[in-house]
Structure formats: C-alpha cells, structure tokens
Symmetry: D2
Subunit: 365 residues, 4 copies
C-alpha cells in the first residue's frame, strides 16, 4: 500500500496534479470528534497556491468536501473521505514534458518503473498530492488539541544561506509570528531578507531551497516503539516522503556528532514536579520513545527543480535536447511546505498515541 501512511490512524491519498481531483481517506479515526469542513479548510488555505507574491500564481481554491464518516458534526468511526476538485488545470501547458524528461523531476523514474506515465504536471509525483496529507493532518491536529495540549509549530529556519541564528527563536514561536510574513519565518528581519532572496532568484528564473524546523511540545512520554517504529524513524520517514526533501535530523542532529558523550548527554533532573532533563540534545526522544521533553527536528528541502532557464536533457527517445520550464511554479517550496510538515507530524503523533495506548493502557495487569 504505497499510498497509505500510518498503522491505526491511517491515511490513503490519491489523485494527480491535473486529474479530476485529489483526495484522501482516513481510516481508524476515533468517533465523536467534532469535525467540520472549516476545520480542514483552514489548513488547506495555508498550503494552497497563490497565497502570496512569492508562491506559484496557480489559482486553486482547494475547497474540501467531506463525503463520509461525519454525521451531525461529529465523526462516526467510519472512514472519512475528503475530496478537493482540481480547477485550474491547464494541460496544454504540459505538451513539451510529454516528450522530454525534466531534470531532477520524477518523469524518467516513473517511465522506467511503470512503462507509462501521466505527464500532466507531474501526475502523481506532483506536490499536489500533499493536499490529502494536509486535510488528514487537520483531523489529526484536532484530535491532539482535544487529547492533550500538544502544539506543533513548523517554520522556515533557513533559505539558502539566510537563516535564523542557531538556538533561535528562544521561545516556542506562535502561529501569528510564523504567519506574519509569507515566508513563514518567525524572525521579521530574517524573513525580510529571505523574501528578498526569493524574489531575486525568481527574477533570474531560478529557485532556492532551505531548511524547515519543527517543534512540538506537550507530547506525553511513551510514544514511539522500540526497534523499527521509533518515533524519530517514523518522523524521518514522514519527512523524507515529502517532495523535494533531502535530509532530516532530530535533536542535536549532524552537529551533535562533534561533541563528546560527556558534552552530549542530557542529565535527568526533577523539574516542574516530574522527571525531565536539564538539557535536550536528544530532541525529546530516547531509544525511539518520547520522554516528555520538546521534540524538535529539521528538514532539508532542495531548490525547486522547475526553473525558467534552458536546461540540457534528453527526450523520451533518449536524444539530447533542451527544456525551459513553463507553467506556474514556486521559486521556493518552503513557505507552503510548513503546514505540510505540521500535518505529517500530527499524523505520526496520533498514530503512535493510539498504538501506545492499545498496547500499554488497555489492560490493567
């Protein structure tokens, strides 16, 4: 089931960039959760194209329709099917890519895998697939908000070489701070510089990448499993399953490898009436399991593959040719990826919450 994610709170996405619609089915959602289309729409609106001057001008209202699993304003426990129609598809814009493989896109790999591909706008490989993830993630977030006081906040920490100072922001950023600018970096000065950089590269017909940070507080200890389904392993999979991602690190990450054990270890202390750690280089997980500290991780996004400059490539017959990007594309995917990172994080947490409870909280021995 390559298009399914999760074990107990399971989502299955479907749909192509320029097909009739994209959507998702959630299976395993707890019953009695208050849920309306408006709960979903608010997150889709943060992901949708055309939000600002630094994103693609493709106009998609991305209006969600809940087709099942909700009755009289509450979930029933049955599958929740959600659908978003594609409205601003312009298949004509994609004639050229029927014949030529776009560099650093999935066209060639799909052709080799399936012997056939829906070339319109990347088809299934388009980031438009993440509409379903964000819709499902909105449901997961609602569960988390009711189940405890879990807060998930992602933000753009670096665009190319323009980034937040290490260790900042020192406080847990608010949603208002993140969304204050279209680039979704909570530091205003850095955000302004990032926006200028994105505008510059767009003017050049080029693109940039960067790094998103995600911080999560309020997660109880005990989520995550030993061995393969560690919390950080499932977060890593979730993030590397997003288009354009090339790296993941949790806690001290790659930089932590420069420290000695005596510098890296997090000493246990008593704080706020519970056992916690004095430092948090572990990033909120120990041995694959949440320990009650803040979870934080970073995700690397490569520069957008579609650029408005001529590039060498080959056609489907293998003959050398040239291609220049057309269509409406983001010069930088990170601002719109912020809600997607949050959605995937919420999905991982709800799934592990349910798994943990099933094994460890159901029976009283």
């Amino acid at each position: 089931m390559p298009n399914t994610f999760g074990k107990l709170f399971t989502i299955s996405t479907w749909g192509e960039s320029h097909g009739a619609a994209v959507g998702v089915v959630i299976d395993g959602c707890p019953p009695r959760l208050p849920l309306a289309e408006a709960d979903i729409q608010v997150d889709l609106d943060r992901r949708k194209p055309g939000q600002s001057a630094i994103t693609t001008p493709r106009k998609e209202p991305d209006r969600v329709e809940i087709l099942s699993g909700v009755f009289e304003g509450r979930t029933t426990g049955a599958p929740i099917s959600m659908l978003v129609r594609n409205t601003d598809a312009r298949p004509g814009a994609y004639d050229e890519i029927r014949e030529k493989f776009r560099p650093s896109h999935a066209d060639f790999a799909y052709q080799m895998k399936y012997g056939f591909r829906d070339y319109r706008g990347g088809g299934r490989s388009s980031a438009r697939e993440t509409v379903g993830r964000v819709a499902a993630g909105a449901v997961a977030r609602k569960i988390l908000s009711l189940a405890g006081s879990v807060e998930i906040r992602a933000f753009v920490a670096r665009i190319q070489d323009i980034g937040l100072k290490p260790g900042t922001p020192t406080h847990f950023p608010t949603l208002a701070e993140v969304d204050a600018t279209p680039v979704r970096c909570p530091d205003p000065a850095t955000a302004a510089a990032m926006i200028r950089r994105i505008e510059e590269v767009r003017a050049q017909g080029d693109s940039v990448g960067g790094v998103i940070h995600c911080r999560v507080r309020g997660v109880p200890p005990g989520l995550g499993e030993p061995a393969f389904d560690r919390l950080e392993a499932d977060l890593a999979k979730a993030m590397l399953s997003l288009p354009a991602t090339k790296g993941f690190e949790i806690g001290s990450g790659f930089a932590g490898t420069l420290l000695k054990g005596s510098e890296h270890n997090d000493a246990y202390v008593t704080k706020e009436g519970r056992v916690g750690t004095a430092t948090n280089r572990s990033g909120g997980v120990q041995g694959g399991i949440s320990d009650g500290e803040e979870i934080y991780f970073a995700v690397a996004f490569k520069p957008t593959a579609t650029i408005m400059k001529p590039q060498a490539t080959v056609d489907v017959a293998g003959k050398p040719t040239e291609l220049t990007g057309k269509g409406r594309h983001d010069p930088c995917v990170l601002p719109r990826a912020v809600p997607i990172v949050e959605a995937m994080t919420a999905l991982v947490l709800v799934d592990h919450w349910m798994r943990n409870a099933a094994q460890n909280k159901v029976f009283n021995f």
Copy 2:
C-alpha cells in the same frame, strides 16, 4: 508490529541484551536461494563485540543457528528463524541501573511507556537487538548479489571532527579498503587519526560519535514508491531506527540547500547506452524512485551514551543522584555500525525490489 520491518521481505527481531538469546524471523524469503550459516556468520563477525582494541571487550561469539526455512542448503520459501545465544551476560554488572536512570539512555522512556522494564544492559533497547538485523541483512545481500550486481558499501566518513575530504573517496571503495583498519574508514591516514581520537576519549572515560556514509551501485531504475514509501523515506526510517542515530541525508542533503536550482539539477544525458544524469546531486532517487544512478546517503551517530565518568541523574523515585558507567561499552559505535547500515540498506532494497516486481512486472498488459 513494532518489531517488524519490511512489507514483502519481512524481518521480525526479538531478544534482550542479557536474556537467553537474540534472533530474527524472515518471512517472505524467495525459495531456492543457496544459504548456509556461514553466509550469515561473516556479517555477524563484522558486527560482533571484541573485534578490536577500539570496541567493547564483551566477548560474544555470536554464533548463528538457522532453525527453519532452509533445507538441503537452499531456502524453501518458509520462514527462516535464526537464533544467537547470549553467552557473556553479566547481570550483576547492572544492579545500579535498576535503581537509576542512565542519561541519554532509554531506561526512563521505557519505564514511562511500559511501567516495567528489563533493566539488564538496556534489555530490548540495547544495540544487541541489531544482531537479528545483520543476520537477516546477510540473506538480503545474498539475494541482491544473485539478482543483479548490486553492491552496498558503508564506511566511517567522520569521527567527531576528523573526516574524509568531501567527495572522497572518488572511487567506490572496496570491502578490503573499508576493513583494512578497525575503524572502517577507507582512507588510511584519516583512519589512523580516527583511531587515535577514539583511544584518547576512551582513556578519558568519554565517547565520540560521527557520520557513516553508504554508497550503493547497481540498483536498477524503478525501486521505491510514490507518496509515502519512497526509497529515501524507507532508507531514512531504516537508519533512524538504529540506536544512536540522529540524522539522515541523501544526495546533496543539507548542503544542497545552499545551491540554486540551476546549480542543483541533474541534467539527463545518454551514457553507457542508457539515459542517465551528468551529475548526481539527487543521490540516485527521483520522486522516491531509483533512477539507476549511484545511491548515496549519510547517517549521523551521536556519541555513545554510556561513559565512565560520573554524571548527575535521578533514581527511580525521582531523587537526585550520581551514576558512573560500568560494564563493557564501545567508546564509539560507528565501526561496528557499518555492517548494520549495510544490512538495513539491503533489507530496504530487496523489499522494494519485490514490491516493484509484484506491481509492475507480473502482468503483461
């Protein structure tokens, strides 16, 4: 099934550090594969403790016994159960950690999750769990070697701040080059410096971490799935499921975020009679699917949590106390992690090979 990995070539590990044994069951192994215990043992010997002066002196022969699924020297298609007895367990050495939580170990998280824990040597959270992974990985490697000419080579690229120059080795390193020194870095001069560093920190009762690189050649295009089960997502999960890992990057990784799209994209060309790419910043995957280029990735390992220095912590009652590491531990886990990284890589590849074939090669439409 937290202790199971893979969808078609599935492994389930079991066992604790100081229990009777550790082991693994492989389900879904193709029949007729020539297989003997010696095929497994060679990989276990690269992982086992006590190999050299820079690893733990715990003495475990780690002798594997195949209990099922192999008949007259070939696999039958039935589950392959493999068992390794624990012989050098010294439970007495662990009396103190029954009462105190070791910093940056899983003790506390397990206690919170399960309300009960096997404290002997970390129990299930011990890296001894990876014995089963390496045994299963050896079977996967044998399949890959017979199925095509896939080669997987992991090696230590950096210990703390002592590392290989970026882009080196320029050739695909041989197994002999990697295993020429106990630190498993294929450059002799760097390896020597690494060994000195490990000996230094061990003399201080301290520990170090670093980065392992893994390179894979010979993978056909088409492995990996769109959406969630991307090849890089499953590799990321596999690596972050290993004890002590904090980061993963594929291809250009975090550094690639400093480039513009025009600098980062891999142009398609015709080479060696096939379509390929002129550069390989993508790391052998596009849209989650192998493209036939070399796959390469990096994994960050934190410094070993157990150190021979006094550390502040709390006891199980939450009272502040102090703990000094005892027992026999690696001051640096990376040399022994090299075969584990290779094993996990082989498992991911065989599983995706079978999944890809089932969907795309079985029927001829």
Copy 3:
C-alpha cells in the same frame, strides 16, 4: 485499517448508505491495464437496486466516476479512486430507527462500539458499502481475464429449501445462464420456483435467505500461502465480511466430514498433459495453495433482517417497544449478492497472484 482488504492489490471502501456518496480507492493496481468506466459499470449494474421485481425498488443509477489513476484509457499504477453518488436517499424514512434498535441489524452493536451512530439506513453497516467492492472487483476481473483465462461464476444454488440438485449444474455455467432470470440460478425450473417463493414471502412482509455457490476455473497452481494466508482462509474471510453471511465451505465442506479418508482423498493422475486429481473433494486447494483444479465454495446468507412485520425490540433508552420495517428493502439479498461474491473472489485471486509472483517468480535462483 478495518476498511481495507488485500495486501498488494488493496482496496479501501468508504461511504454510508445515506451520505453524499460511496466509493473505493484501489492501491497497487498494475499499470498499463486498459480500463474505462464502462468496465466498472457493467458489474455495478448487476448489483444495483431496482433491477427486477424481486429486489428493492430503491432507484440508484449507481453511476461510477473514476477520479484518478487512469490516463488515456490505461491505469498508471497510481491509486484508482472511484466514486458513486447516492441519489435516492430518503432520510425521513429512517426517523424511527434513530430511536429503536432494529432486530438482527447492526444498530445496537455500532452504538455500543462507537457511542454514536449514523442511523440513516444503517449508515456504514448498510450493504451499500459493497458498491465499492464491486467496482474494485471489476478491475480485478479485468486483470484476471488478461493475465490468464480465469473465469469466476457465482450463482444462487438454494433459496430457503428450494435448491439445485447436489452436483449440478454438471457443466461450468455461463453468465447468460446465470443472468437468464432475476434470481440468478442457472437452472430455469429451480429459478422459477425460487422466484415464486421470494414473491410469496414478500407478500407476507417476510424475507428469505439461501446459499450461493461460486466456481472458479483457470487458476494456476501456487496461489495461496502456507499457515495463515491460505487461499481458502482468505476466501472465507472475504465471504464472511459480506453483510448477512453466516457460513462458508470449500470443496466437500461440512458434508465431506461424513466420508472416510479413503473415500475423501483425491488421487493424483496425469490428465491433459499435466498432473491433476481424479476427483476434486478438496475444492482446488491443498494446504492452502491452489492446485490447478476448479475452486468451488458455498456461502450461506441469512434471511434479510428488515421485514415488514411488527417485531419486538427496545429503544435507545432500553425500553421495550415495537418496530415495523419501512423503507425499500430486498426480501432476499442473494440475487444481488452474486456479483459481490464474484468481486470478492476476484480481489482475493489477484492479490494472491501478485503475492505469489513477488516471492516465487521475481528472482531466478
């Protein structure tokens, strides 16, 4: 994933009887399969209500819309999302069952499980859920027809006590023979008696059940797995997952328990240039695996729970009350269940075909 069936060719159904729509997502469908909505519609038309005088008069055109996974008339390997709008929903007809538990319906069990239920027409528990199964089954049948010469034929073998003579029909019945009458029994005289019986009980406001037989020829040896995923185990699960089913038997079934081993065993012989069996009491499976003989099994369906007679029950507060069926219901579900049994059979076979190939045909050792 309670609403998902299959391991490699996976279907996930969603939707409620009187919600906006019902549908299904197929994940894992092989690419390049020629597929159009007409391929699906033909099977949905055999399942839809209002086909004949002996089925419910509810009028649903059950027009399928393929939303993804098909491009230029062929599957792409991406998920196939299919949707059927509900048009003839009359929620008003169900006011009473909001307050009272219908005998031998799922209302009470859903209420106890979820603490909340969509009471309109049974919601998720309605047989309307099988629309998605039949749509997905049509795709599976198309694969089977192209992959080999597999033929699946279900038919009504008994209505209450009116049944086909044991061992008849002696030939593999044609689709035309089955569909010659609305009751879908291939023997005209028996069919006529069955129809009379159904009309009689309907006139009484009552209902009847019976037995469906299903025969499959052309299945190659080797489908099915040892241990748990035996072909007959997965067929049994598929059939018992259908609404109103109470029993399953394969080959000689319950009657076979009256024979001695010497009478029951199927001797191996050479026939048609291959190894086969002289008799076929095993029903085409040995040890859970197809042996190349015809597969045949029987499924018991209870009488429709909704009847137009007053019945004693309790209301949601537990107070005794009375209920008389309203709405539009089938006095006998079997005729419309015939294509559903075929659909589930096709789904099981395609899934096992792919699983078998992945393990046993991909590598050449």
Copy 4:
C-alpha cells in the same frame, strides 16, 4: 507476511515438522502480564501427540522455552519468542514421499509454488506448525482471563455421523467435561461411540473427520470492525487457516438459511439489567461486531489425508504409482484440534479487543 496473524497482538510462527524446532514470536503483547512457561505448557500438553490411544504415537514432549519478552515473571512489552525443539523426528520414514505426491496433502501444491520443498513429514505444511499457535494462544487466553471473564470452550460435536444432538449441551460445558475423554466430546455416551468409531477406522488403516463447536461467553459488545475485519470474518479466516478445515459457520449458519426473517431475527429485550436478545441465531455478532451474547461457531475438519491403505498417485516425474501411508499419524485430528481452535479464537479476540480500544476508548471526545 504469510506466516503472521493479527494486527496489534501479532503472532509469527516458523518451523517445519522435521526441522530443528518450531516456534512463534508474539509482537505487541501488553506489558506486566504475569507469564511463565507453565502457562504455555498446559495448553501445549492438550495439543501434543501421544496423549491417548486414539492419537498418533509420535512422542514429542513439546517442552516450550521462552527466550525473550518475559522478565522476573512478567511480560515487558517486547517480543515474546518461544521455541519447541523437535525430538522424535525420523526423517528416514519419509524417503518415499520425496518421490511421490501424497493424495490430498500439500506436497504437489508446494512443489508447484516454490519449485522446491522440504518433504520431511510435510515440512511447513505439517500440522506441527500449530504448536506456535497454541503457545501464543495460551498468552492470549491469559490476557482474556485477566481482562474480563471471557471463557472459550471448544469441543468435538461430531465424528463422521456420530454427533451431539442439536442444541446440546444446553449448558456451557466445563473444561473437565470436555477433557473427560480423549475424544474431547462433553457428552459421555456420544464420546464413547466416537472413540469406538475412531478405533474401528484406524484398524482399517483409514481415517475420519468431523465437526468442532466453539462457544465463547463474556465477550463485551463492540469487538469486530465494519466492512472487512468483521469478527466473524476474522474467526472464519482463523479457522480456515487450520490444516484440514473445509467449512465454518457462525450462529445459525447453513441451517439458518431455511428460516424466514421473522423466524430468524433476534428480538432485543432487556435482561440482566442490560440490552440483549431473546434468541441468539446471530451467534453473538451483528454487522461484524460482538453484541454481548454468546459467540458460537462450528468448524468442519476433513478426514486425515494420511491413511494406511494403498492409494493411486503419481511420482514427481508425473508417472503413475502407488503409495501406502507410513509414519505415525492421527486417524482423526479433531481431539487434538480442540485446543488449537481455542487458541485461534483467543488470538482473534485479544487482537480485536486492542483494536477496538485503540480507536474507541483512548480519546474522550
């Protein structure tokens, strides 16, 4: 994962009839469950060969060894690996079946599927595989006994044409009543007749089959899932996954198809302070979900395939030949199948209990 059963309480069996050992790994067992080898052994002793004059004289003590997941007498939440060594293997006794396909055995199907087979005593297809199921089932039973007051009682209801009167026993039979005779039929007179029949057919070198009934009381309402994973569907799969089974029916089963709806429906009433049903033709499930009434079902077992009479067959080259059963076999598998049916039932119930709790009991909306 053909050799794995369950979604949350998962068991994976391994091992061949005449290999080194058979075993099972349980993944997902709740922690803190008191568990000792003696808890397992008592169930294995009911399954083991050589118990009485009417079973195979093969002598296997079937002594279980728990290798992991249990510490200081309680489960830890880690995988529980259990192993039983094969001791009375006599490979020499199986030389003939290397060359000839045994009628109504899996030899031929395995050969066709895998192109290779472990012919010793049926290898993986032997009922010896069920040792692991019974061991795991003993753990599941212990959970059920502590979680509530669930009782599972299977017994032999019919041997060939010698059976209990319909509707008997009228009370829930005790374990002592069932185990009072080696045939495990709780009615002494019927049991005596059954034993005589088994002895007769054995004297003829022949074999018999029959029907096992299983009754379960104390199951709370709400177990089982809509759509595919209905409780009866998973029970059907569990039973049809057992060697030699040919049929399954729940509640009124095949006989219920003779009734009209007005005769078959179970009226809701208030009883013992709760909502229940006046009759129980449904067998304790409605719409796939337990309703709190007694669950009861029947399983058909064919006569043992191995008989001591000459039978026609073909050899591996397809040449006609003759085969006479050798080795030590049960003339009737039902008495030893009783604990296996109970084990599978317990496994299904624990798994659904955990699944139900995870979705419906974890969050309080």
